[in-house]
Point group: C2
Chain length 507, copies 2
């Protein structure tokens, strides 16, 4: 594969981003923080008009979309915090050491610089929080990388309107022209991803498309990192004790998590493992009441959901708990009510192929496991990687201690091996945007499980380390100078203290 | 591509590594640190016998090999230090916060866990420091990942002998069986790299082989990260002022850096840009004296070097400064003396294809640039990524300030964009093993320039983050507990302080 010539329009866009790279990289972290806050403010000020477009294009509710704008603004502010804090630079200073074990050690100082122009492919299901100015875009801009966003085809007007608001705010904040640009169309996105001037890619979407783009990024003449957040079924394990303790609470929490945003969330619990003959299915039916129908994001997603739903409900041994369904309107939009089914572990095993794949929409499967089942062994049997895994456990009355903690430890370990986030007595949807968050897990949950797309660590994906050896102060980045004018945390290894722990321990 | 069945022998090896993974991951960082120190001690104790084998198999000198064993031991101890320090875990604790901007924030805690079994392909040119128990192996073991090393075909007996020493030390230190295993043969290495139980690959070697293996890793049904350290030509820029200040010093330093280890180092300066009509070529001739011949690592490398050397010396406009040469003995080994050539910038440009590619051996090219040449523009014109870039500058007498610092800043910036390490008034060979070191640069210097293969950050390649949400203490890794029994650094975000800088700044 060689880079193809870009269309004149795309050539201008990539050339703009390339031209902006040095000036944008040279902005101070605090200046970029102010620009991100300006974008957050601008989006919040434009919320009413943006949400109106989003409702029309995505079918998501006003409450959900208003909340999503707030989340998007919080994400931008989180990265502003990250920039002001400065520890993301991992600045290290090793002073010269004439006594070093391998001979005179030079003065070596290391910080991180932006990788260059990045393309971000937006998601369908978060028209704000993982779209034009969503989490990935915020991380890319925070890192100091010119950003090209490929709009999702599901909300083109909203993408244009958001881009207009963001561009105005970035320009007013003094960011260079070419810092942020929007393109439409998958072919355009692929062409930009192949361009040698583009240095990384980010993506949120399906396993199929994610794999296609990851393969393109890896097979370029100069390969680049590609950070894809793909599919996940987020298994939940609910103990008999937990059901005995709080069946109604668990039932209602599960229903909210499965049906919120019409189940179109990458952290939707797709499976819940429960004991055979438990009262939970009945509690779920009792909690369901009259569930409203919800429009799915677009006709393609609706058709694909209905196909998966039919395959699941017609698999041998699958019984409806909540029937649910989908109807299509004249415009081709699908309107769904939640479907909950139950299946024995034996039948799940027999129909694994039909059942185990993600159903992107309001559907979840209760798997009934006989007493004595080795739950830890089910994780590698059924799943590759997942974003999350959840346990619902009970507490020993009066002590606050978890019942059967020693036995459950094996299950927790097995889940940890396969996910990015392990939850206890909660629900995986509604990902908190916070420094310790991890949103990413082994393939196919993501293309790169050593990174995260939510939380302040997400900035690291778009930075690379550079070391300076015996540099005169005039040539050092400010973050590495002794005077530390930006006040960033610096990890300092003084001369004469480079004797290692190992050699000290050995005397 | 699907995973093929392994030979019975390889199946046992991969099964052993897979079985060892949970137990090895569960060892405490300090226990692993002790094991690494034990390996370092054992290698140093066995130095005499190991170096004897290495001399025979690699043709490197006793002094160089003795130094390399010391370096290898220091690397192992550096990772022991890293483990004891604990900051590599980047442990973060965000306490629950009922006041959070997006609603109640759960308690989220994040640490890093080992990725699982890793294969490391050893290098030809560092039979200790980047081979069986070299830097990559030390980082993999430090991370807690079972290690399978593919021995380099250039030193099979040394690989076996080193493995025996290391295995005994690891076993005596209580590490689980299967923690470390050695295999021989490229086909075996490829088969292991394709196996779904193997979770990452490391490699030091040529661009061709590195690309082949990187493509295999990326195209697996479940892709894995592949950390290849490939080729680099490490351009050097020497100002007229620097030559006027210290021509003899620069000449002798350059010769040592080009000819040490017979130029078979990835950080060898392949090009030096010097002013037209400078006295440096004469100074280099004066410093050269009677240069001894040195055996190249193996006959294949020798033949490949001679082919590159012939292409370079016969390109139009290329003039010998030091003729050098190579002779082949009956065993097919090549014995080389250093070759230094000079070429005008104009002729370099005209023969770019023939000249710019790495010559792995004792050869370097002086490129003579007319006064007024925009040196910063030469970097992107001639090179993709490099491990290092170097400047030799002069000091304004009496001030300690660099001459022409403002002008040179553009050149430093251009170099930074394309390398992992920028050096001043020194030589790129002899990479210090120290926390701030960065050994890695943009493609094709490495497959992944957001990582390093030297320095304590190298451990990060074999870890992935996991977050725990609302976890009872009994299920938390020790590194994330409030009591902090291992005493690792924990970044704590208390409740009630999650208001962002952005919102504070806005009032």
């Amino acid at each position: 594969m060689t880079a193809e010539a870009l269309s004149p329009e795309l050539e201008t866009i990539v050339a703009n981003a390339t031209a902006a790279a040095p000036a944008f990289a040279a902005t101070s972290p605090k200046t970029r923080a102010q620009a991100l806050v300006a974008v957050a403010d601008a989006l919040e000020n434009a919320k009413a008009s943006l949400v109106e477009i989003a409702m029309r294009e995505t079918g998501l509710t006003e409450a959900r979309l208003n909340g999503e704008v707030t989340r998007t603004a919080v994400q931008l502010r989180l990265f502003a915090d990250t920039l002001v804090d400065g520890s993301y630079l991992d600045a290290r200073i090793d002073y010269a050491d004439p006594e070093f074990a391998l001979g005179v050690r030079p003065d070596i100082r290391r910080t991180h610089i932006p990788v260059g122009p990045v393309i971000n492919f937006s998601a369908s299901n978060f028209p704000f929080a993982f779209s034009v100015m969503g989490g990935d875009s915020a991380a890319i801009l925070a890192a100091g990388c010119p950003l090209i966003v490929k709009a999702h085809s599901g909300h083109p007007d909203l993408s244009d309107a958001t881009a207009e608001v963001a561009s105005a705010a970035l320009t007013a904040a003094g960011m260079p022209a070419g810092t942020f640009q929007l393109i439409h169309g998958r072919e355009a996105g692929v062409a930009v991803l192949k361009d040698p001037r583009v240095k990384a890619g980010a993506f949120t979407g399906s396993i199929g498309v994610g794999r296609l783009l990851a393969d393109i990024a890896a097979s370029r003449p100069a390969p680049i990192p590609f950070y894809g957040e793909l599919g996940s079924v987020n298994p939940v394990f609910i103990t008999a004790d937990a059901i005995a303790e709080r069946a109604a609470d668990i039932a209602s929490g599960y229903l909210v998590s499965v049906s919120g945003s019409a189940g179109q969330l990458c952290t939707k619990p797709g499976f819940a493992f429960i004991p055979t003959d438990s009262e939970l299915p009945a509690a779920i039916q009792a909690a369901a009441g009259e569930l409203p129908e919800h429009r799915l994001l677009d006709p393609r997603i609706a058709r694909s959901f209905e196909e998966r739903r039919q395959a699941i409900v017609s698999a041998p041994g699958v019984r409806p708990v909540i029937e649910g369904g989908i109807r299509f309107d004249e415009a081709g939009h699908g309107w769904a009510t939640p479907t909950i089914v139950a299946v024995s572990l034996e039948d799940f095993r027999a129909s694994k192929e039909a059942l185990v794949e993600e159903a992107f929409g309001p559907l979840s499967i209760l798997v009934e496991t006989p007493a004595g089942t080795d739950l830890a062994a089910l994780i590698p049997e059924f799943y590759e990687g997942n974003l999350t895994g959840t346990l619902h456990l009970s507490t020993i009355e009066g002590t606050g201690e978890t019942a059967n903690a020693a036995e459950l430890r094996t299950l927790v370990d097995a889940i940890s091996q396969q996910v990015g986030r392990v939850l206890f007595n909660g629900w995986s949807t509604g990902v908190a945007v916070t420094p310790a968050q991890q949103h990413g897990g082994p393939w196919p949950a993501t293309t790169n499980d050593t990174s995260t797309s939510v939380g302040s660590s997400a900035i690291k994906r778009f930075l690379r380390p550079v070391a300076y050896q015996n540099a005169p102060a005039a040539f050092l980045p400010e973050t590495l100078r002794d005077a530390n004018p930006l006040g960033v945390p610096q990890a300092i290894a003084p001369a004469g203290e480079s004797k290692t722990w190992g050699s000290a321990a050995q005397g």
